[in-house]
C-alpha cells in the first residue's frame, strides 16, 4: 500500500485544496497518471501519482485544504483489485468547483462560517490542529465559537457522525484572562481603576494577578523626559539627577551641556552668597592649601567633594562667627577711574602682556596705601581690643573655579611697586588655583580686599574676616556719566565699599579710608613706587 500525498506544486506552496478526484477506488493508475486536481493559490493543477497500482481508499474529500504531505489516498501497489472497503466520497462531498473548505455546521450560523469543518470521531490519523483546551472548562449553552484553527475533514470512509458538542468560549469579559488566577478583591480593584485585567501581567505564584500588578498597571507612565542619550549617560557618570535639570535643547531636551551645568550648579550652590572670607579649618587654623585646592581630576572626584564640603563648613563657621560677633557698618563711594586707567594704559603701551598691569593691581595698591594712612582699620581685634598690624598685609579673596575661595596674603603690600604687586598677585592667584600655596601665604592678613566686581556686580558689601576689623570691596569697573569740573562725560567708575567693625572704629574712620582710596586713584602716578618708571 502506498500513500498518495498532497504534492508540493510550487516554491511557495505549503498547503492546497483537493479540488477533484480524477480516479475512484478500484481504478488502475500508472506512474505519471493524473489522479486529482489540486487547487493552489495560483491555479488548479492536475497532479500525478508516482506509483502504479490500484486506487484504494480516498482519504480526503474534495474541497478540503490540507498541508503538503498529507496522505490523500492509498494506492495498492500489489496489483490486486481495489479494496472494497474503499468507499468513494459521497456525491455531496464531491461537489465540484468548491473553492473553500466544505462546511457542515450544526446550524445556519455554523454552516456559513468559512473554514469550519467537523472533527468527527476517528480523525486521529489526519493532520489536524487541535483546538486549545482552555475552552473546555467553560459552561455549556453558549453560542458556538468560531474556530480559527483548521480541522481536518472526516475520512470518506467514516460514517457521518453527529457533530461533537460545541465548545463554548468563556464569557467575553474574561477573555484572555486566567479565570482562576484573579481573586474578587483584585477584580474589584481593577474595576475601580479601570484596568483591563486581560492586559495585566500576573507576577504572583502561577502567574496570579496581584493587587500590586493592578496598581502598577493603573499608574500612568511618568512623562518621559527628553534627554539625549549622551546626556543620560553623562548624568549617570556625574551623579546628576535629571529630574531637576533644565533642558535647553530642541523641545526642551536635556543635552550634555545642561547636565554639566547642573553638575556645576550643584557644586556651586552653597556659595551663591559668596562671602569674602579667608578659609579656615574648624580648629580656627587656615585650610592647608593642598587640601583646599579644588580638585578636578576625575579619579579624585570624591576626595574633591569632601574637601569642598570641609571648606564650606569652615567658611560657614567663620562667617557665622563674624556675623554673630562683629557689629558691621557699611560705607560706599563711587570713584572715577579715568585717571588711573589712562595712566595704566600709557604705562602698558608697548609692553608685552606679561609686563602689563591690570586695574586690580592699582586698586590693591591704593587699598594698601590707604590702610597705611588710616591704620585704625589695619590690624586685629583680639581679646576685646584692637591691635594695629605691624605692616599692611593685604588679604586678597581669590575665588576657586571649582567653588570656594582662598585668601592669600600680599605682605607689606603698601611698599610694593605696582609692578611687584602685580607680579605677586599673579603668582598668588595662579598658585591658589593650583593648590600650591604655602601656609604662610594664607596667614597674617591685616586687611582683606575683595573684588567681586570681576564677576560683573557693581558693589560688594562683604563680611569681615575675624579677627580683622575691616573689609574693602571693589565692584565692577563700569562706564557711567560723570561730571568733572562742570562737564559731563563718560568715565570708567568703580564702587568702593568698606565693611567696618563698629567695635574698633566708627563710620568716620571708614569714610576717611575710602576718601584716601579715591584720592590715591586720582593720582596714580603719585602713589609711592609708581613714580620712578613714570618719569622715564
Amino acid at each position: 500500500m502506498a500513500e498518495f500525498t498532497m504534492p508540493s506544486l510550487g516554491a511557495d506552496m505549503d498547503e492546497g485544496v483537493l479540488q477533484e478526484w480524477l480516479v475512484a477506488p478500484g481504478d488502475r493508475v500508472g506512474k505519471g497518471d493524473a489522479v486529482a486536481v489540486v487547487e493552489t493559490d495560483k491555479a488548479a493543477i492536475e497532479v500525478e501519482c508516482f506509483t502504479s497500482g490500484t486506487v484504494g481508499r480516498l482519504l480526503v474529500e474534495p474541497g478540503t485544504r490540507v498541508p503538503v504531505g498529507t496522505p490523500l489516498a492509498l494506492i495498492d501497489t500489489a496489483q490486486a483489485p481495489a479494496a472494497q472497503a474503499a468507499e468513494k466520497p459521497t456525491a455531496e462531498a464531491r461537489a465540484p468547483g468548491a473553492r473553500t473548505t466544505r462546511t457542515r455546521g450544526t446550524g445556519g450560523a455554523g454552516a456559513a462560517r468559512k473554514g469550519r469543518a467537523e472533527t468527527p470521531a476517528g480523525r486521529a490519523a489526519v493532520h489536524a490542529r487541535v483546538r486549545a483546551p482552555k475552552a473546555a472548562a467553560v459552561p455549556e449553552g453558549l453560542p458556538a465559537p468560531e474556530p480559527t484553527e483548521k480541522a481536518a475533514p472526516p475520512p470518506p470512509s467514516a460514517p457521518p457522525s453527529p457533530p461533537p458538542a460545541p465548545a463554548p468560549p468563556s464569557p467575553p469579559s474574561a477573555a484572555g484572562e486566567p479565570a482562576a488566577a484573579v481573586g474578587p478583591l483584585v477584580r474589584h480593584l481593577a474595576d475601580g481603576l479601570g484596568v483591563d485585567l486581560g492586559s495585566v501581567h500576573g507576577s504572583g505564584p502561577g502567574g496570579r494577578v496581584t493587587r500590586a500588578d493592578v496598581a502598577q498597571a493603573a499608574r500612568p507612565a511618568p512623562a518621559r523626559r527628553r534627554v539625549t542619550p549622551y546626556a543620560r549617560r553623562l548624568a549617570r557618570d556625574l551623579g546628576v539627577d535629571l529630574e531637576g535639570v533644565h533642558g535647553t535643547g530642541d523641545g526642551g531636551a536635556v543635552r550634555a551641556a545642561d547636565v554639566r551645568a547642573a553638575a556645576r550648579a550643584a557644586q556651586a550652590a552653597p556659595e551663591r552668597s559668596r562671602p569674602a572670607v579667608p578659609v579656615r579649618a574648624r580648629d580656627g587654623g587656615h585650610v592647608p592649601a593642598a587640601e583646599a585646592a579644588a580638585v578636578s581630576g576625575e579619579g579624585a572626584r570624591d576626595d574633591g567633594r569632601q574637601r569642598e564640603d570641609a571648606m564650606r563648613r569652615a567658611i560657614g563657621e567663620l562667617m557665622s562667627r563674624s556675623k554673630r560677633e562683629i557689629p558691621h557698618y557699611y560705607l560706599s563711594t563711587v570713584i572715577d577711574l579715568a585717571p588711573a586707567q589712562e595712566w595704566m594704559h600709557r604705562r602698558n603701551r608697548g609692553r608685552p602682556p606679561s609686563a602689563r598691569l591690570v586695574t586690580a593691581a592699582l586698586l590693591l595698591k591704593a587699598a594698601a596705601l590707604a590702610a597705611r594712612e588710616v591704620p585704625q582699620l589695619n590690624g586685629h581685634w583680639q581679646d576685646g581690643a584692637f591691635t594695629p598690624g605691624t605692616g599692611v598685609h593685604l588679604g586678597v579673596a581669590v575665588s576657586l573655579r571649582g567653588g570656594g575661595l582662598l585668601t592669600p596674603v600680599i605682605h607689606d603690600a603698601d611698599t610694593l611697586t605696582p609692578e611687584d604687586l602685580m607680579a605677586t598677585l599673579k603668582d598668588l592667584v595662579r598658585r591658589a588655583r593650583q593648590g600650591r600655596l604655602r601656609g604662610s601665604e594664607l596667614s597674617g592678613a591685616t586687611l582683606t580686599v575683595t573684588s567681586l566686581g570681576e564677576q560683573g556686580v557693581e558693589a560688594v558689601f562683604g563680611v569681615i574676616h575675624p579677627p580683622q576689623v575691616a573689609l574693602v570691596g571693589f565692584g565692577a569697573v563700569v562706564e557711567r556719566p560723570w561730571a568733572v569740573g562742570g562737564l559731563l562725560g563718560v568715565h570708567p567708575v568703580v564702587t568702593a565699599t568698606l565693611s567696618g567693625d563698629h567695635r574698633a572704629t566708627d563710620g568716620a574712620i571708614g569714610a576717611r579710608y575710602l576718601t584716601a582710596v579715591d584720592r590715591l586713584l586720582h593720582e596714580p602716578g603719585d602713589m609711592p613706587g609708581s613714580t620712578i618708571e613714570e618719569r622715564e
Binding site: 506544486l9 491555479a43 493543477i45 504531505g69
Partner: protein
C-alpha cells in the same frame, strides 16, 4: 565537488569497431545520456512533490537531445554558460549526478555547496559557469569568457545556452552584436521551445525565425531539429569547428519542446493538450530509441541495462544527497566576499 564520474562510465565505446559499429555505439551513448537526464528529471518531480526539493525547478524533459547533442561537440577545455533549465546541461557536461542532486537538497556536497539550488548549478573545474536565472543574463558572461580566451590566444569555445525568451531581452542583442563585432569564439545555442514561460513565441516575437534574425548580426546561423540528438550533435560539431577556426560566433536555433510545465507545475492553460501530444510523438528519447530498434541496435536487454544503470546512478545520488551534511549555519556568510587571506591588503 563529490566524486567524479563520467556520465558514460559503463557505456563502452570501442575504437576498434567498424564505422557502423562505432555509429551504433555512439547512438547508444546518446541514448544513455538522454535517458540519464530524463530519469533524473523525473525523479526530481517526485522529490519535489514530496517537498524534499524546494524552490523553483525547471525541468528539461523533452529537450534532452539539445543538452546531450551539443555537449557532445565540446571538449573539456570549452566553457558552458547555461540557464535556469540546466540540469541536463550540467549532467551532460559531466557534473556528477550526486553533486547536482545534493545541490537541490541544499546540501554541502552540492555542486554549489547548497547555495545555488536547482537554478544555479556551477562547476568551475568543468568550466560550467552556471545556471543563470535571469533570462539573457548569461549571454554577456559568455562573451567575456570568450574575450578572455581571445585576448590570451587560447583556442577555446564558450557555449552559451539560452531560450527563445531571451530573444526579447536586450542582453541577447547587445551580446550578439558585441560578439560578432569582436569576432569572439562563442557558440550561441538557442533552445527554442516555443514558449517564454507561458507566452508563445508568436506572441512575443514579431519575426519568429530566430536563426534569420541572428544572422542579421553577421553570425553564421542555422536552425536545427532539436528533437533529433544526432542532428543536434552534427550541427553543433560544425558550428564549434567554425568558432574554433576563428570565424567568429555561431548561432544555432534548436527547435525543441518541453513536455512539462515551465516550472514544476502549471495548468498548461497557455497551450493545447493536443499540441503537447503532437510533440510527444517526437519525444527525443523515443525517437532515437525507435531508430535504434529499427536498426536492430537496441535489444530489450540493452535498454533494460541502460535503464538499470541510470536508475542505480540516480538512486545513489538521492541516497548520497539525503545522507550528506548541510552547511553549518555559521558558514552562512562565507563566499559573500573572498576570504581575507586572498585579499591583498597593503
Amino acid at each position: 565537488m563529490s566524486t567524479t564520474r563520467t556520465p558514460r562510465a559503463s557505456a563502452s565505446r570501442s575504437r576498434s569497431r567498424s564505422r557502423p559499429d562505432r555509429q551504433a555505439a555512439h547512438r547508444r551513448d546518446l541514448l544513455h545520456g538522454m535517458l540519464r537526464v530524463r530519469r533524473f528529471e523525473e525523479r526530481c518531480v517526485e522529490l519535489y512533490s514530496e517537498a524534499r526539493i524546494r524552490g523553483f525547478m525547471h525541468l528539461c524533459i523533452g529537450e534532452e537531445a539539445v543538452a546531450v547533442g551539443v555537449t557532445e561537440a565540446l571538449t573539456a577545455d570549452d566553457a558552458v554558460v547555461s540557464t535556469y533549465r540546466e540540469h541536463g546541461h550540467a549532467l551532460a557536461r559531466g557534473v556528477p549526478a550526486d553533486a547536482v542532486m545534493a545541490e537541490m537538497f541544499g546540501k554541502v556536497t552540492g555542486c554549489s555547496r547548497g547555495r545555488g539550488g536547482s537554478m544555479h548549478l556551477f562547476d568551475a573545474g568543468r568550466r560550467f559557469y552556471g545556471g543563470n536565472a535571469i533570462v539573457g543574463g548569461g549571454l554577456p558572461l559568455a562573451a567575456g569568457l570568450a574575450l578572455a580566451d581571445r585576448m590570451t590566444g587560447r583556442p577555446r569555445v564558450t557555449c552559451c545556452f539560452f531560450g527563445d525568451g531571451a530573444f526579447a531581452e536586450g542582453e541577447f542583442h547587445e551580446t550578439a552584436n558585441l560578439a560578432a563585432l569582436w569576432g569572439l569564439p562563442v557558440l550561441f545555442v538557442c533552445e527554442n521551445n516555443l514558449y517564454a514561460m507561458g507566452t508563445a513565441l508568436s506572441r512575443h516575437q514579431a519575426q519568429t525565425d530566430l536563426a534569420l534574425r541572428a544572422a542579421a548580426y553577421g553570425m553564421v546561423s542555422w536552425a536545427v531539429d532539436g528533437m533529433d540528438a544526432a542532428a543536434v550533435e552534427d550541427a553543433a560539431r560544425r558550428a564549434v569547428e567554425g568558432v574554433r577556426a576563428g570565424s567568429g560566433p555561431h548561432f544555432l536555433e534548436m527547435r525543441t519542446y518541453r513536455f512539462r510545465a515551465h516550472s514544476m507545475y502549471d495548468s498548461d492553460r497557455y497551450r493545447d493538450k493536443a499540441e503537447i501530444e503532437r510533440w510527444r510523438e517526437r519525444d527525443p528519447v523515443e525517437l532515437l530509441a525507435r531508430l535504434m530498434r529499427e536498426r536492430g541496435e537496441l535489444p530489450d536487454e540493452t535498454l533494460t541495462g541502460l535503464e538499470d544503470e541510470v536508475r542505480a546512478e540516480i538512486d545513489d545520488a538521492v541516497r548520497a544527497a539525503e545522507q550528506a551534511p548541510e552547511e553549518p549555519v555559521e558558514d552562512l556568510l562565507t563566499y559573500v566576499t573572498s576570504p581575507p587571506a586572498e585579499v591583498n591588503r597593503p
